[in-house]
Amino acid sequence: MGDSQYSFSLTTFSPSGKLVQIEHALTAVGSGQTSLGIKVIPVIAAANGVVIATEKKLPSILVDETSVQKIQILTPNIGVVYSGMGPDSRVLVRKSRKQAEQYQRLYKEPIPVTQLVRETAAVMQEFTQSGGVRPFGVSLLVAGYDDKGPQLYQVDPSGSYFSWKASAMGKNVSNAKAFLEKRYTDDMELDDAVHTAILTLKEGVLTPAEIEDYLQEVE
């Protein structure tokens, strides 16, 4: 990883004990487009799952929107959405897909969500310590379903990961999180969660006309 001439890390401690590069990476994430996820575990097991959503604002109306894929699939049971730098997320998606396939090849079993998150986070941490590389400028929301039920994890540029019932990242994160805190209930249904996701994105993101469209689609 990195040139042999760069056998020293570019991410070093400041006197206050912070890794400034990671702080800057988190700033890059914070100015990225909003994305959020909501985990649904109602009493009826058949109706549980995870919802992930993101704002897809394209720089111009001339851009072919079908070519832009912000929400990506890692395995048939695990999907991911990001906030921050698109190209960095593509590298991580590629690596994670490979890791998931290697697990599948070894054990002939689909990879559990926690294991994939752990390995992805390990990659992100590597890039904060290896020579000649910079941290990834993305935070990922990994949503998946396995034997333990629906799961939602956030992975940061530092390599730390957290399991959430509902979370948001990117621009307007404080508004979005406050909204989610108010609206989230443990006995939500999947349709409610989709609705809530769209309404959360509305908080300072989508225009009223767009919201009408999406709400109609959901109904």
Partner: protein, 189 residues
């Protein structure tokens, strides 16, 4: 004499009603000389998973150590025991890694999977899995074992009857093989 026959071994596993049995002989030889009569060929991976390793004894022991290592790491990472099917895939992968310089072992894997459904399988020394619903055999006495199991096996036996059947099959087969014998170890789960 082939390298697989150097130490001599006999292994058999059978499926019963919500249970399984795995049995091996106890002889360790150096070609025709008997060196030990209490050699362990069947190892516990966890409460519901056993593996028996026939063939060259040194490879059997080393392979067992590697498998225990992998399973312990799996347990620590995933906070659960490995399912027998998963373990079988792992053994197959580990054996194939050494495709051009193999372990001279034939493993027999027996375990209880989800909802205590019995699972048995065997594979050759480079990892070709052979699943079976009734019984699997391995070792120098395998031909006799095939014959004995085929005639003595019945589906859905209770643990007590399964124990009797597998013991009789093992003992009568090793009696016809000079390289295996000196008693047997039987595990019924």
């Amino acid at each position: 004499m082939s390298i697989f026959e150097y130490n001599g071994s006999a292994l058999v596993a059978m499926v019963g009603k919500n249970c399984f049995a795995i049995a091996s002989d106890r002889r360790l030889g150096v070609q025709l000389q008997t060196v030990a009569t209490d050699f362990q060929r069947i190892f516990k991976i966890h409460d519901k998973l056993f593996v028996g390793l026939s063939g060259l004894a040194t490879d059997a022991q080393t392979l067992y150590q590697r498998l225990v290592f992998r399973h312990k790491l799996y347990q620590l990472r995933e906070e659960r025991d490995m399912k027998p099917e998963t373990f079988a895939s792992l053994v197959s992968a580990i054996l194939y890694e050494k495709r051009f310089g193999p372990y001279f072992c034939q493993p027999v894997i027996a375990g209880l999977g989800d909802e205590d459904k019995p699972f048995i399988c065997t594979m050759d020394s480079i990892g070709a899995k052979e699943l079976a619903k009734d019984f699997v055999v391995a070792g120098t006495a395998s031909e006799s074992l095939y014959g004995a199991c085929e005639s003595m096996f019945k589906p859905d036996m209770e643990p007590e009857e399964l124990f009797e059947t597998i013991s009789q099959a093992l003992l009568s087969s090793v009696d016809r093989d000079c390289l295996s014998g000196w008693g047997g170890h039987v595990y019924v789960v």
